[in-house]
């Protein structure tokens, strides 16, 4: 069992060397490198400003600016999945059919609705980009306070 624990301890030590989590596909590093964060807005999102302001603040922290990417509504979640955009702002229900494919934030600028099928403003992130997901989760929580 000691042998089984050794690589685990090594991993934990590695984890302690740097802040966790990191992005599986390196979105945060790319935002810093390119100086821009690509954001798409789903059609029919008149209140996107609150989420965009939050993302703009996030990008500014890394010396980057927001670039709004025009994308057809139907393609938007797929573009996010494929890494063609870094975040998607739109109305999604908590129990959205997309919830397994993309990572949805909590409701932006309002409390979570009791009806899990009611779409509200959220920020969708690419699955596995855990550093970006945690950072935006923190920003959404801070805004709620």
């Amino acid at each position: 069992m000691v042998r089984a624990l050794a690589p685990l301890l090594l991993l934990l030590m590695l984890a302690g060397c740097d802040a966790l989590p990191r992005d599986a596909s390196g979105t945060s590093e790319r935002i810093v490198r390119d100086g821009r964060m690509r954001v798409a807005i789903a059609p029919g999102t008149p209140d996107a400003a609150a989420a965009l302001s939050l993302l703009r603040d996030y990008a500014r922290q890394y010396g980057a600016r927001l670039t709004i990417v025009r994308v057809h509504g139907e393609h938007a979640p797929h573009w996010l999945e494929d890494g063609k955009v870094d975040a998607l702002v739109g109305h999604f229900a908590k129990a959205s059919p997309w919830m397994a494919d993309i990572s949805l934030s909590k409701a932006v600028g309002r409390p979570e609705p009791e009806d899990s099928k009611r779409p509200v403003l959220r920020i969708a992130r690419r699955n596995g980009e855990n550093a970006l997901i945690l950072a935006t989760d923190r920003a959404v929580a801070a805004m709620a306070e």
Binding site: L8, L11, L20, P21, D23, A24, G26, G128, A141
Partner: protein, 307 residues
């Protein structure tokens, strides 16, 4: 010697100890399932770990049920008693172990093939949003402790009472703590951006679980098909069965001897006339294991019949 009734006094205390350990297992593992469920979020890896932990309760439950049945007196409908309930429980426990291994392997392979990038985001507690992975690591670390302790406590008891269900449950606990360690490696891997770490670690563990489960299934089937008693930890014939055959042949000469196992008990059939002095179980098995010999039958061949 009787094939049909209760638990022998020689092992009664150990069987009760085994039961107590299984009640502890149910309580402790239920708390593990609850903690894991609370922190699992949308992580597929954590969901798989929770399902695995629920399945791991099966051997403990069937052990408790089989011991309860083993104590029952024979009835008109079941004149041979219920001791074979242990053999049936063994099959169920081995199947549960195989299900855990198979489920884990399926989840791991499908994650690797689909290249799913696990998402572990933040959770807000007391006004602070922290990475959910830290809570998952704490829950997984907790999930590793009970099975290590319980598994190690069960093994010597399983050996003393020759209980393959309890032994399989100890294997299940091994599967539990190994899966927990794989889960910890996986969450740390996710934190480092290695999306494949979790599934790869789980795949290696699942292969070890499947190997143990297939071995246990072979033994369980052998027992239900009246095979010669097998060792607790392999499909080899058990040492006490080999010694019993040798003792009978030494006493009665070159005769055919058939052994089969009903639960933890051995029944013997010898092809010769009944001797004047029937050997006692202690003479054949030794004092410590005398309880295990439940029945000794002599089956004269047609030509053997005396005057």
């Amino acid at each position: 010697m009787s094939l049909h009734s209760g638990i022998p006094r020689a092992i009664a205390a150990d069987v009760r100890r085994g039961e107590r350990l299984e009640y502890w297992t149910l309580g402790w593992m239920a708390s593990v399932v609850l903690v894991m469920w609370l922190v699992m979020g949308a992580s597929q890896a954590m969901k798989a770990a929770v399902i695995e932990d629920v399945l791991s309760l099966v051997p403990a439950v069937v052990f408790l049920l089989s011991v309860r049945w083993e104590r029952r007196r024979p009835t008109a409908r079941f004149p041979f008693g219920y001791r074979r309930a242990n053999s049936l429980a063994f099959l169920v426990a081995a199947t549960a172990l195989l299900s855990v291994g198979g489920f884990l392997a399926y989840e791991s392979v499908s994650t690797l093939i689909r290249q799913e990038h696990p998402t572990v985001g933040g959770i807000t507690l007391f006004g602070h949003t922290i990475w959910l992975g830290w809570l998952m690591l704490a829950a997984l670390a907790y999930s590793v402790i009970p099975p290590i302790i319980l598994g190690r406590m069960k093994q010597p008891i399983a050996e003393r009472i020759k209980d393959k269900v309890l032994h399989t449950d100890a294997l299940m606990q091994k599967a539990d703590w190994q899966t927990g360690l794989a889960g910890i490696a996986g969450i740390v891997g996710i934190g480092l951006g290695w999306w494949w770490a979790d599934a790869t670690a789980a795949l290696f563990i699942s292969l070890s679980i499947i190997k143990d489960a297939v071995g246990a299934l072979k033994q369980a089937v052998a027992e239900l098909l009246d095979g010669t008693p097998r060792a607790l930890d392999s499909n080899e014939l058990s040492n006490d069965a080999k010694q019993l055959v040798a003792a009978l042949k030494a006493r009665f000469g070159k005769i055919d001897v058939r052994l089969r196992e009903t639960g933890r008990y051995i029944a013997v059939e010898v092809d010769c006339l009944p001797p004047d002095a029937i050997p006692t179980a202690a003479e054949l098995m030794g004092d410590d294991l005398a309880w295990r010999l439940a029945s000794l039958s002599f089956r004269p061949e047609p030509g053997d019949t005396g005057p």
